[in-house]
Amino acid sequence: MARRFFALMMAVALAWPAAALAVQPDEIMPDPAQEARARALSREIRCMVCQNQSIDDSDASLARDLRLLVRERIAKGDSDREVRDFLVARYGEFVLLKPPFELHTLLLWLLPPLVLIGGGLALWRRGRERARVALASGDRPPPLTPEEEARLETLLAEPASGAGGDDGKITKD
């Protein structure tokens, strides 16, 4: 779906890249284990001329070059880490779809756990606070105003037309 919106956007400015296939038959490595490693790595490497596509998905010629490069390094005996480091040294951190955990990505990586833990703590503290206040005041709702009383009367007098509770019973909460 993203591609659709992207397409809408690009329709104004650019032509849609010709749809073709990503990994070509002639790129596949003879050793299935190495090929599997190459595919897994390719999924984490960004095609730099595309919008948010991995080189595994992209049909751009640059992506093909990078796929071949990854396979070349793997064939030479590089570890996954060495391949990644090689690509970063050549093209910068931009090629990694999963940014490394560093000072300038601190907020990116830490925000989700912070929101979760911070939110949880805030809720917990607030719940305790309110429970204490309620205990002190006796947890009684403020009395109804005369108008509200009158409305309640008319509502209760009506036949049950839509006052079903959650499970179909008439509830009075």
Partner: protein
């Protein structure tokens, strides 16, 4: 003439929205009922004029009037008629016109069916709708006018982008916009409540059906877009964590949270202040999505800087509405009364946890989508945040959420009994455990993570079923009595069960597709065979065919299983001359919920054609889940309790009840 009429109608709609922005509020201030009701009339008239404008643009497309710039740039006389209609929103200007048309439609619906609303609240809601409308009419008229003429009209248009010439995409934007823009109603209610300083359980009851409606459309829109990407883009992916996709996921996540917190507010008069904030945030995220997609900021910060008119305009709208509503919230929210109390372990507590997880998931998507933009803007560093990041952060959050769903629905309001709920879920848990072991054994223990997540999904589905079974006392009462109880249950109960089960079903599809997808990439000649999973595809013939506005290369495959023919598949590749671009048309063969997927690539020098073939086990469940969720939403929407605030006369509701 038609273009000028459309343009004129749009200007009139702007004028009406300006009146709508002011008059009802003045009415509320002066306690003048007639002035308050002006909002109703203008909302209806505004919709009529936007509809005229939209109709005019559609007519221009159908007539292929290439003297209009927008039509010339996005249409072609040979384009099939249905795509002349859908091409109206296949471009920036037209899609913005669709956006305001839907906004005006929702305004008109509130005006028409808001009879139950207190007069002042309705007036304020419509006024806020008027503000949003006015801002976007101005945006269209000043920066994105679809009715501009070309000085010397060309004979032929440039045609619609071929990837958009597809039935899936024809429906996707309207659905998505119905969702996005539908949340504007909840937003308007929230702002109106803040202005009025009055917020009660009835407010939640009015807001819920509108939120639910928007949520249904957004769910369908996202699912349809995902399915389109799956069959059209040619490599069988269905979710890419693309910024534009994320832009629609964020309002869905916070909208889902809103849906749940509104329940708490309606039933227990609690979480009021939070619900209002969520309503504001959800529509703010919809606006943000519009900004991200429409401003071009996503391609690059620099692309945005080179032609910033549109982007800056939307950014201005964004800041005004988000900043304004949040400031109003900060100012007024402390004066709102806090609602009912509840113990941490209770239905309310579970829904709060649901909200916490959904909000965190939303924040994760938000930071992942915008962090690279922010970093580049402030430090110049370029980084990428893609699927691996989101899978790593979003995944665990959603697993946690799924684990919680069955417990939450079984807890009582106010004070729940967790050990009791766990006991009632024993059967579901046991079956889930057996599933984990069975899957692990079947895969010889190679896919531990997949086994566990499938077990979790089964737990969610059975947990939803358990709740339903308990309500009708299945197995406790005679079957007949239990069934009679089932008939008497409110539809929203079934809606909830289906929606939660849909989550589990989608999860199974996602896990199976990602874990056991088998792929075969090869250059094939007629007579060659390819093994895909337990199937064999034989290439019989390669040929060419002429379509209405394209030429396509196609290949015919016969699919065999154990030597028996089970079907034929004809994937193709279309070349559109007018745009000099091509699309892949993958062929799909469904076997139950699993699919065989074949797409074509280029023809090599030696005449062999590149073929990508997949077997995708249970892949259809990925979209069946959301469909079930949307259907559950629809059932809930048809529930008589919600009709109090929804478009349905009270009398009809009563008749229905008698029939039950």
């Amino acid at each position: 003439m038609i273009a000028e009429a459309g343009h004129y109608a749009l200007v009139l709609a702007l004028a009406l929205s300006l009146i709508q922005s002011v008059a009802p509020i003045a009415g509320v201030r002066l306690r003048d009922g007639a002035l308050m009701n002006v909002g109703r009339a203008t909302a209806l008239a505004q919709f009529a004029f936007v509809a005229v404008a939209f109709g005019a643009l559609t007519l221009l497309y159908v007539l292929s009037d290439f003297s209009v710039l927008n039509v010339f740039e996005n249409s072609h006389s040979a384009k099939p008629l249905v795509y002349k209609f859908t091409g109206v929103w296949g471009n920036h200007e037209g899609s913005m016109l669709l956006w305001v048309t839907i906004l005006a439609l929702f305004g008109a619906l509130v005006a028409l069916f808001g009879n139950h609303l207190p007069q002042a609240l309705r007036a304020l809601v419509l006024a806020v709708q008027g503000w949003i409308g006015a801002a976007f009419y101005l945006f269209i008229l000043f920066t994105s006018n679809p009715f501009l003429r070309v000085a010397s009209p060309p004979f032929e248009g440039r045609d619609l982008n071929p990837v958009l010439q597809d039935p899936g995409l024809a429906l996707h934007p309207p659905l998505l916009y119905l969702g996005y823009v539908g949340f504007s109603v909840a937003f308007s209610f929230a702002v109106a409540a803040l202005i009025e300083g009055r917020l009660d359980a009835a407010w939640a009851r009015w807001v819920r059906p509108w939120t639910l409606m928007a949520w249904i459309f957004l769910t369908l829109g996202i699912a349809m877009g995902s399915y389109w990407a799956y069959y059209e883009l040619g490599w069988g992916g269905w979710w890419f964590w693309d910024p534009v996709e994320n832009a629609s996921l964020m309002p869905w996540l916070s909208g889902t949270a809103l849906l749940h917190s509104a329940v708490v507010m309606e039933k227990r008069d609690a979480l009021k202040v939070w619900t209002v904030l969520l309503a504001i945030l959800t529509f703010s995220l919809s606006l943000l999505g519009t900004f991200l997609v429409r401003s071009g900021v996503l391609t690059s910060v620099h692309a945005f800087a080179t032609d910033p008119t549109r982007g800056v305009f939307i950014l201005l709208i964004l800041c005004t509405f988000i900043g304004g509503s949040l400031a109003l919230y900060a100012w007024r929210a402390p004066t709102l009364k806090q609602g009912g109390l509840f113990a941490p372990v209770s239905r309310e507590g579970a829904l709060v946890l649901n909200n916490l997880l959904l909000t965190t998931a939303c924040a994760t998507v938000f930071v992942g989508t915008l962090y690279p933009l922010g970093l580049e803007l402030f430090t110049g560093d370029k980084i990428s945040v893609g699927a691996p990041f989101f899978n790593m952060t979003f995944g665990p959050l959603f697993v946690l959420l799924l684990l919680m769903v069955p417990f939450g629905t079984l807890l009582a309001w106010k004070r729940g009994d967790l050990p009791g709920a766990a006991q009632r879920l024993m059967a579901a848990g046991l079956i889930a455990l057996v599933t984990v072991l069975a899957v692990a054994a079947w895969t010889s223990g190679r896919a531990v993570l997949a086994s566990v997540t499938i077990g979790l999904a089964v737990f969610v589905i059975l947990g939803a079923a358990t709740e339903l079974a308990e309500r009708i006392m299945l197995f406790k009462l005679p079957l007949k009595v239990a069934l009679r109880r089932a008939v008497g249950l409110p539809r929203s109960t079934f809606g909830r069960t289906l929606a939660h089960a849909g989550l589990g079903i989608a999860m199974i599809g996602i896990v199976c597709e990602t874990t056991w997808n088998s792929e075969h990439i090869a250059a094939m000649k007629p007579g060659d065979v390819a093994a895909i999973g337990s199937y064999v595809a034989r290439l019989d013939r390669v040929g060419e065919r002429q379509g209405p506005n394209y030429r396509e290369q196609l290949a015919e495959f016969t699919i065999l299983r154990n030597g028996n023919e089970i079907g034929t598949m004809t994937p193709s590749k279309r070349n559109f001359a007018a745009r000099a671009s091509s699309t892949t048309e993958a062929a799909l063969l469904s076997r139950g919920a699993s699919q065989i997927y074949i797409s074509l690539g280029d023809v090599n020098a030696d005449g062999a054609i590149t073929v990508r073939a997949y077997h995708k086990p249970l892949v259809l469940l990925i979209w069946f889940g959301p469909l079930l969720m949307a259907f559950g939403g629809l059932l809930s929407l048809s529930d008589r309790r919600l009709r109090v605030g929804a478009p349905q006369p009270a009398r009809a509701a009563r008749r229905l009840q008698a029939a039950e």
